[in-house]
Symmetry: C2
Subunit: 478 residues, 2 copies
Amino acid sequence: MAKEKKVEQITDMEVDFAQWFTDVCKKAQLIDYSSIKGIFIYRPYGYAIWENIQRVLDAEFKKVGVENVYMPMLIPESLLQKEKDHVEGFAPECAWVTMGGSEELEERYCIRPTSETLFCDHFKNVIQSHRDLPMKYNQWCSVLRWEKTSRPFLRHREFLWQEGHTMHATAEEAKEFTEQMLNVYADFCENVLAMPVTRGQKTDKEKFNGAEATYTIECMMHDHKALQAGTSHYFGDGFAKAFDITFTDQNNQRVNPHQTSWGVSTRLIGGIIMTHGDNNGLVLPPKIAPVQIVVLPVAQHKPGVLEAAETLKNRLINAGFRVKLDDSDNSMGWKCAEYEMKGVPLRVECGPRDLENGQCVLVRRNDGEKTVIKLEDLERAAAEQLELVHQGMFHKAKQNLDEHIFEAHSLEEAKAVQERSGGFVKTMWCGELECELKMKEAAGMSSRCIPFDQEHLDDVCPICGKSAQKMIYWGVAY
Amino acid sequence: MAKEKKVEQITDMEVDFAQWFTDVCKKAQLIDYSSIKGIFIYRPYGYAIWENIQRVLDAEFKKVGVENVYMPMLIPESLLQKEKDHVEGFAPECAWVTMGGSEELEERYCIRPTSETLFCDHFKNVIQSHRDLPMKYNQWCSVLRWEKTSRPFLRHREFLWQEGHTMHATAEEAKEFTEQMLNVYADFCENVLAMPVTRGQKTDKEKFNGAEATYTIECMMHDHKALQAGTSHYFGDGFAKAFDITFTDQNNQRVNPHQTSWGVSTRLIGGIIMTHGDNNGLVLPPKIAPVQIVVLPVAQHKPGVLEAAETLKNRLINAGFRVKLDDSDNSMGWKCAEYEMKGVPLRVECGPRDLENGQCVLVRRNDGEKTVIKLEDLERAAAEQLELVHQGMFHKAKQNLDEHIFEAHSLEEAKAVQERSGGFVKTMWCGELECELKMKEAAGMSSRCIPFDQEHLDDVCPICGKSAQKMIYWGVAY
């Protein structure tokens, strides 16, 4: 009964994917609405996913020599305006502070939408010599962009993210680091979040305001729309010149350093939900799940069952897993539905008969597969099953991606493919903005990226018919 | 030479304590000024101290059942105004957002100076039944208070902190939890930061805006001024009534829950500097030092020295210490001064003669004590020395505290004691605001706390001569 009731509360994804997504965010208690439109509250279960993402990624950053700092949340308008392309892109989305206490401010401050300008203002003070380079900084913080529309995790006016900012002595080193950080993100998505990615470069139209080049990882959601999951930008020395940042090189000359920035946000959680979730709710990748294993005693009023469940829980905790035992008086059906909704990767069931036989049952969230194991094998079997959950999730998502990349040789064909199947449509492209705009107008698709893995599909751009050297991915994106 | 130069750069604390403090913040590269008055940049070394504080405290919070969340950074003015005392206290210090993009907002938003109102707005939605209680939330974030004056770590317009907010079914439970969290802070200060504290209750004048009772831990700085290091507040059901938060109790009645909040901030880092620092710079408590041990090879050009130093470093890292090896070509004098400035608790020196004799030298930052140890004892000896550093630091700070608590029996005596020696002046107190104001006016001291450990010094208040039951601590505070 309880189970039936619970499952009924979620809209089927086949009926209305957007509503299914919102339902999962609410029912799994990831997020709540605040009293300001477009700003959300990260509830404990949602925030715990972010903490796990932070922990793993932060360790990866530190491995490549990145140090954490914290910059101000406010940017004076004059500072924001120092780099022309940058301010043009962000000014329309800024929230402005105009009063401090009861006094009107002499200059208004925007709440950071991103912090390139603040980092540059600081770099100017602390970079003197080539010995100070590379300087690799990162901060975990929230940023604010006054967008018109919003959706949980995918588009918030305020969202949590990390932004890395680095300065290098040479353009080559900076470019290399830009790609290195994209690969850190790509590996993280695939190996930790079980989300396969496509790596590539953004077009000039889609690149970050003020960047020379933007690299991206693009993921495929369950509804065959694209999600930009992380970006890494190479700035050349544009900001360094605008902010007058120089260092003394080995020839004793004052020169400008070369810059990168790179970021991922809580949008990744939206990606996890839409890549792995199903009609029973969340399905969480084991490596970032707040609870990896839930222990459910069956017929817990029977003698010895609760004690045995407690023992299993403690053994799993001692083995390093994140574990919860639910010995509440809710029904087994309710509990199963609840932890399915919350996407807990592995369920351990143990009842009186299991215990008699010295065994228990492991149930995988992603495919419902049950495995009966001997109690003495618990730790090893749990680790094995969690690895199988990760692999199964990755495999399914990879299949969804691979089966939804289509080739097109004309604008009409691209449009027809997108309407029929969604996904990425790959074509050749001449490199002109005009053709990019035409694709958007005719087929509703934006360019997703020029993949690093190139294929030669044709000699010409299918939109204008001119010669084309590059293959590009198009798609409808979140 | 290098050492002389380095040490000269800091003002002696006996000459100008305030300038010494600022010098340490800058030269140890903890902090930098931003382009906005009163807002500081947390540099890698300063932020790493905060990360260590976070890691230890967060684990303590989780032990008492606290969960992390993240609330919006903006508070609509109407929400801030719901609790009368609260808004009166904070409105004069709010920074106000009045524009979103190019549009004037219908209602202005303040950047959170603290988040009671936001938590209450959320609690209203998620608390239904006594089964939902207690609800124990915390967030790590930055807050903004538009203060007139500022000093690194001690008073920022924007600063990093944590704010815990909990709701309980009964007043008793909430009061108990308020004290429990104060004890978490007190134990943390003493056992982790080596900062002895005085625990007590704030007077009505000094309590948090909107609280029924505020508990505090007060520390004694090296210049004998007081620092309020952490506070824990009991709210009763005042906010709950103002925000209409109710739950169904076990008798099926709708009643208001009882509330607490508690916080510490990066002000603790200011406390660490002013409690432990000396004329050579920072002295960091081993448990939160970003680098606990620095390994310095002596005569590193001699064969085998660098390799041996590398081996020592790796052994210490494998034993779980945070370690740095400095094999740069700077002089030994420069290196010693540099890591003294940065407050690294333990220095390992190893030169050719040490290696011949199968030994190395451990030097404690806090008292300069040198210990020659056998190489095979390295890990055990390092752990022992770090423990001695902690104990030595705590003991010295405790002595400074104990020797600067004075008793007074008249306003004149209190004033004379404060002028002569600084520190805490303890007197009896009738409980009247008028006497508190008189002490401030006549002796320049505010009330620090009514200590939990009470003594009976007199029968009357030394200010008004009326009967007095309570002993109070007065002091000049940061």
